[in-house]
């Protein structure tokens, strides 16, 4: 019961999905939309698990007065603030419309936080390339050179430095060449490899060979 039924379910659903890809006739033709709707609904239920888990871990910190319990309190309060506003004070299912309180929070709290976290990447790109881009080996040198050419080739400075060269070997042209030829070749090899890895894992799941996600006993 505990393991057999889930394994049978995985196999059946997987096979139905594969077969329905080849059959336009109903009901097979609409299996994909139906199943993806179902998954979204399950996820909408599962968010309760996540939210409760978050609240429990935070409440636990406050209750036991662990280090940083104050921040746990802030998390709980912000969670309830946006949840209550989103459910009751923001025009129901039109909660994302411009002008709702939910939208106000989104624009002035969520958006700047998210955009800044994203922008911090720019600094990390600099420190990571300083630390890691060393010409230790031939392979590392290739990586470094490709990055170098593409980075310079994408800004006007690149063409200013290489302005004395004939037009078709200026930095911006070199960058375009790297992007179009060796880059796309490497990319394809990786994509084909990933494709094979994914279909093989998918097959393992359907055959029930790979089943750790179901846990023990």
């Amino acid at each position: 019961m505990r393991r057999e039924i889930p394994l049978i379910l995985t196999a059946t659903v997987g096979i139905v999905y594969i077969i329905s890809f080849f059959i336009p006739h109903r009901p097979f033709g609409s299996v994909e939309t139906l199943f993806s709707d179902w998954i979204l609904i399950i996820a909408a239920f599962a968010i309760w698990l996540g939210a409760l888990n978050l609240l429990r871990v935070s409440a636990d910190k406050i209750y036991r007065k662990k280090k940083d319990w104050f921040y746990a309190l802030v998390t709980i309060l912000s969670f309830f603030l946006i949840a209550i506003i989103g459910f009751f004070f923001s025009r129901g299912s039109h909660f994302q419309d411009v002008g709702t309180s939910f939208d106000y929070l989104y624009r002035n709290v969520y958006n700047p936080l998210s955009a800044t976290m994203f922008a911090i990447l720019a600094f990390f790109v600099a420190s990571a390339s300083y630390r890691a881009f060393r010409a230790r080996s031939w392979e590392a040198t290739l990586l470094l050179l490709a990055a170098f050419f593409v980075m310079l080739g994408r800004v006007p400075i690149g063409d200013m430095i290489s302005g004395f060269l004939p037009e078709n070997i200026r930095l911006s042209e070199v960058a375009t060449f790297i992007m179009n030829i060796p880059q796309s070749a490497g990319q394809r090899a990786i994509m084909i490899g990933i494709g094979l890895g994914i279909i093989s894992t998918a097959l393992r799941l359907i055959l029930g060979i790979e089943r750790t996600y179901l846990g023990g006993d």
């Binding site: 379910l9 659903v13 997987g14 139905v16 999905y17 179902w38 998954i39 979204l40 609904i41 909408a44 599962a46 698990l49 939210a51 978050l54 921040y71 802030v74 998390t75 912000s78 603030l81 946006i82 949840a83 989103g86 299912s93 909660f95 929070l105 624009r107 709290v109 969520y110 700047p112 936080l113 998210s114 800044t116 922008a119 911090i120 720019a122 790109v125 390339s129 392979e139 290739l142 990586l143 470094l144 990055a147 170098f148 593409v150 992007m179 030829i181 060796p182 796309s184 070749a185 490497g186 394809r188 994509m191 084909i192 494709g195 994914i198 279909i199 799941l205 359907i206 179901l214 846990g215």
Partner: protein, 218 residues
């Protein structure tokens, strides 16, 4: 209200940026607000965008055909299955019968496996083979011949690198080595390329701080 919002946004921006110096109470505060707000955001959106239209409206529609037309045959009843699977997921919270949550889990994994088996076979394998089938020799155009040859060699050697059943030795190892070269160029190029968009984002934030907020930049 808008000015207040602007100040909040600016202070939060600075708070996150302070992380670059080191972990500090202001960052911790921003981090906890961020986690709470975003989890709540997700909680609300999933309800209004999945639970409400896909489950509630479908079932309500099915119930109303039953009541008004007396018809029970309605495809929308199928959504009840999803509702049941969703409730099973929540049964994790009851330790004794928590194992029931494996059912919806295996439903998700099964449909994932089926979907990806097909789509990756088609998009990552078939389509990539198709775009790599190019003439290596194009009469009268040396440039294209050479670039096509480079693409062909790159894909070939790249694939050889990913072989797991043979050690990288001899001619095989040589090809794998060339494959690594191509991969490295790919990674370098894609790194350099991404730098541009990351910098753009930072520039956007600086523009917000100095322009929109402080009004120093016109």
């Amino acid at each position: 209200m808008e000015t207040f919002g602007l100040w909040i946004a600016a202070l939060l921006t600075l708070g996150i940026m302070s992380f670059l110096y080191k972990d500090n109470p202001v960052y911790k505060l921003c981090e906890s607000i961020f986690i709470g707000i975003s989890a709540g955001y997700w909680f609300v959106s999933l309800f209004w965008q999945s639970m409400y239209p896909r489950l509630y409206l479908n079932i309500r529609g099915a119930v109303s055909t039953l009541l008004h037309e007396g018809r029970i045959s309605d495809d929308r009843w199928l959504y009840l299955v999803a509702g049941i699977l969703g409730v099973m997921m929540l049964l994790r919270l009851v330790p004794k019968i928590g194992w029931i949550s494996r059912w919806p889990l295996s439903f998700i994994v099964g449909s994932t496996a089926g979907l990806y088996f097909i789509t990756y076979l088609q998009s990552n394998i078939m389509n990539q083979i198709r775009s790599t089938i190019i003439p290596i020799y194009v009469p009268g155009n040396l440039g294209i011949s050479i670039s096509n040859l480079i693409v062909f060699v790159g894909v070939f050697c790249g694939l050889v690198y990913f072989f797991f059943s043979r050690e990288h030795k001899g001619a095989f190892g040589g090809a794998a080595k060339v494959g690594i070269w191509f991969l490295m160029i790919t990674f370098g190029a894609s790194f350099g390329f991404t730098v541009m968009s990351r910098m753009s984002l930072l520039i956007g934030r600086i523009d917000f701080l100095f322009g929109t907020w402080l009004g120093l930049i016109k």
